[in-house]
Amino acid sequence: MNLVPSEFSIGGVYFPPLLIAAIIGFAAAWLTALLLNRYRLSRFFFYPPLVLLALAVIYTVIIGTFVIPS
């Protein structure tokens, strides 16, 4: 098992993979929210801000686990 984190280096600055996963996760959640609004599916949610937060967490975990693992 490799415990050394695989950090991103941009201009000599090291970024933790979780930060990158979180940024992509939030962008994906935002895009999902736009699509849900577009097709009037957001009306089925009681409290959309919490759904957006939950989507961001779910996407971050999925991306952090399978796409950009630490």
């Binding site: 941009i10 849900l36 609004n37 009037r40 957001s42 009306r43 949610f45 959309p48 801000p49 957006l52």
Partner: protein, 743 residues
């Protein structure tokens, strides 16, 4: 040379001449001049700060970036407010350290409560900038001194020193380089407003005489309302820029309040026009044809005096009398509408005369021989504004979220910066609470990227201040030119202020990409905290706010309709009355602004124009309710009250019931049914009033008491008619689509 070649040469010369002409025009434009002023002032403050060896020169740069406005007076005014706000912030920062040196939670609670207080006070007057600075600079100063707080005093003094220097330098540059003074702007604003109100008055009088309302009238009304709202801030700037305006500042302020009162009276008068449609006003009020030209001449003289020319004649008091014979032939409610119209015309006559006298005083043309200037003093009790309070709660929450993150999240980036930034954004949003937080992200990230490139790639190659100063000049100039449009003011402020913060110039210069990244991340974290506080504990989602404000508006209308407010001696009731009056006055405008912030999907089958129509009807309802309250205290004939009290009470209860139902569901009342009920009620009352007047003993009611009865009946009718209009317009709104939850 051939003819063709000569032609080409002439064309080329024409093109280059046109280019030179365009370039010259650009050099003479205010955008170019302002960009040069700000860029030059920025370079000078950096030079002075670095030459003096002062820390944090970007504080002076921030003062230049944020206090540079179009005129010298406006800039000086904002600069002084910045200095005074910094002074208060520094005092509170030191006071809190002295009061709670070891009690962390007490300190944080005191600091956040103070930030919430400053946020609330932002909406108090035209001097909102003072409270903005006082609110966000306090945490900045408290944290800039380091965790021990031992250098807090030096930090406060340094901030004051840099801010004052920035303000002085920009003011000097603005005075010396293409100066644009505020006094001519004030004169122009007042003159344009007088002209707008003259045209509005002319249209009103023309409609009274039987003409149709001009299509341009709504545009004129919007322009006049905008000018009236802007005028106090223009006076603030001009009084600091011009000795003449300073000497007469009280008169200018009175002039601004008289314009506001005139605008409101014109609007109220217009609201009564539908009730007068069938009446022959020329016959009923023989003095009316002479009044229109007289009011027009007075406002024309105001513009003439503002241009420095003396008035040709002084206005004389005009009293409008009725033709008693024609009056007796009128139905009771037509008579009520007529009494109201005369009251409004009489008020217009008084206000234009007062305005004439004030402007004559300002320009030293002497006093009006028959001057009975309005000496109205505000007797309104203090009242709380729930929307400003909600903004204060949002600031409090946003700062607490970021504070707890800084305390409990290890290695949280730049705590000394992220807390003031969160406070600044949250406080600033109190001015435009409908603005989504995400709209700030792009200008912030764009400027951080631009300034980051400047910091990392350009600055390391500069070896002297000549190079640095030139580079700063070019960068600031470019930001000012690219974001020069008036609607880009916020982006311009963000751009210039972010730039000076990110490049972080100092005498011991270091260049690190990490700082730029951390700075960008810090801003995003601060915006995230503000975004969370936009949902919790109070939601700022436009549709929810609109429903809440509509409920509050209708609830206040219902309370105002109740006679409980009559006992104005009771302090609690007086406070309650002031609160309800404030709510019905302010809420329609707020609802309109929130409606404009709705996404297109929220209107469903309706349109934004229909939402605007509903807002207009709510504004009229609010005005009518206030009018009703104002008339309640007027003396009434005991005999007439005895005869009519039961009918009026039933009418009032019906109004209250409809308002309650509308508050629960704006689409629950059918306009056609309401119209039929109102028509039946008016018919029944008409006959009852007729009988009561015939039955009343001779001399039991004075003419003033009879007029007061008509005024009160007219007010009830006005409220009822407006309620019918509100329900008719509310039925056009797609409330289902508005209620739908969306991200």
């Amino acid at each position: 040379m051939t003819v063709h070649a000569r032609q080409q040469g002439n064309d080329a010369a024409g093109v280059s001449l046109a280019g030179v002409y365009r370039l010259l025009k650009w050099f003479r434009s205010e955008d170019f001049r302002q960009a040069v002023r700000v860029a030059l002032a920025m370079v000078i403050v950096y030079y002075v700060s670095l030459a003096m060896g002062w820390d944090r020169p970007h504080w002076a740069g921030l003062a230049v970036a944020l206090c540079s406005l179009a005129t010298v007076g406006d800039s000086l005014n904002k600069g002084l407010l910045r200095i005074l706000g910094t002074f208060l912030a520094g005092f509170v920062a030191l006071l809190l350290i002295a009061l709670f040196p070891q009690e962390r939670w007490h300190y944080l609670l005191g600091a956040t409560a103070y930030i919430a207080f400053c946020t609330y006070m932002m909406g108090h007057s035209s001097r909102w900038y003072f409270w903005f600075i006082a609110g966000y600079v306090m945490p900045l100063l408290a944290l800039a001194g380091g965790p021990q707080g031992a250098t807090a005093f030096e930090t406060v003094v340094l901030r004051l020193q840099q801010t004052t220097m920035g303000v002085i330098v920009y003011t000097l540059v603005a005075v010396l380089l293409w100066p644009r003074h505020s006094a001519p702007v004030l004169t122009h604003t007042v003159s344009s407003l007088a002209d707008l109100q003259r045209r509005l008055l002319g249209q009103y009088v023309a409609v009274l005489a039987g003409a149709r309302e001009d299509r341009e009238a709504s545009k004129l009304r919007a322009q006049a309302a905008g000018s009236v709202a802007r005028l106090p801030a223009v006076v603030d700037g001009a009084e600091l820029d011009s000795f003449e305006v300073w000497e007469t500042r009280r008169l200018w302020r009175r002039c601004a309040s008289e314009f506001a009162a005139l605008n409101e009276t014109i609007e109220r008068s217009r609201q009564g026009l539908p009730d007068l449609e069938k009446l022959d006003l020329r016959r009923l009020m023989p003095g009316l044809p002479a009044l229109g030209p007289e009011l027009d001449a007075r406002l024309a003289s105001v513009a003439r005096m503002l241009a420095g020319r003396p008035p040709q004649r002084w206005p004389e008091e005009i009293v409008l009398e009725f033709d008693e014979e024609a009056l007796d032939a009128l139905a009771q409610f037509d008579r009520a509408a007529l009494v109201r119209a005369r009251d409004q015309l009489q008020r217009l006559e008084q206000l234009t005369r007062a305005l004439f006298s004030t402007v004559a005083d300002i320009h030293g043309f002497g006093s009006n021989p028959c001057d009975d200037r309005l000496t109205e003093t505000s007797t309104a009790a203090w009242t709380i504004d729930l929307d400003r309070l909600a903004c204060a709660v949002r600031s409090f929450t946003a700062v607490w979220i970021i504070l707890l993150a800084c305390i409990y999240v290890p290695d949280f980036p730049m705590p000394a910066g992220v807390i003031p930034v969160a406070a600044a954004v949250a406080i600033m949003l109190a001015l435009t609470p409908w603005l989504p937080v995400r709209s700030v992200i792009l200008p912030v990230l764009g400027t951080v990227a631009f300034a980051g490139v400047f910091h990392v790639l350009v600055m390391p190659h500069l070896s002297s201040f000549a190079g640095l100063g030139t580079a700063i000049f070019i960068a600031i100039f470019l930001i000012m030119i690219v974001l020069a449009k008036p609607e880009q003011a916020m982006a311009r402020g963000i751009g210039t202020s972010m730039f000076v913060m990110v490049i972080s110039v100092s005498n011991e210069q270091t260049y690190t990409f990490l700082f730029v990244v951390n700075f960008g991340l810090m801003f995003l974290l601060a915006l995230a905290a503000v975004w969370v506080s936009t949902w919790l504990p109070i939601s700022f989602e436009p549709a929810q706010v609109i429903f809440m404000q509509l409920r509050r508006f209708l609830a206040s209308c219902e309370r105002l309709a109740s006679p409980r407010h009559r006992d104005a001696e009771d302090q609690v009731r007086r406070t309650r009355l002031a609160f309800d009056r404030h709510e019905v006055t302010a809420l329609p405008g707020k609802i309109g602004r929130w409606m404009a912030a709705l996404p297109a999907a929220a209107f469903g089958k309706g349109t934004p124009e229909q939402a605007g129509d509903l807002v207009d009807a709510l504004q009229v309802l609010g005005d009518r309710m206030r009018e009703l309250v104002e008339l309640r205290g007027a003396p009434q004939s005991a005999a007439l009250v005895r005869d009519l009290v039961a009918d009026v009470r039933a009418w009032r209860l019906a109004i209250q019931e409809i308002l309650r139902r509308l508050a629960m569901d704006p689409a629950s009342v059918e306009a056609a049914h309401l119209r039929a009920r109102l028509d039946a009620k008016l018919e029944a009352l008409e006959a009852r009033i007729e009988r009561a007047l015939n039955a009343a003993p001779q001399g039991s009611a004075s003419s003033e008491e009879v007029d007061n009865m008509y005024r009160l009946l007219g007010a009830y009718r006005g409220v009822s008619e407006t309620l019918v209009e509100v329900t008719r317009r509310a039925a056009r709104i797609d409330w289902g689509a508005l209620r739908e939850t969306r991200f």
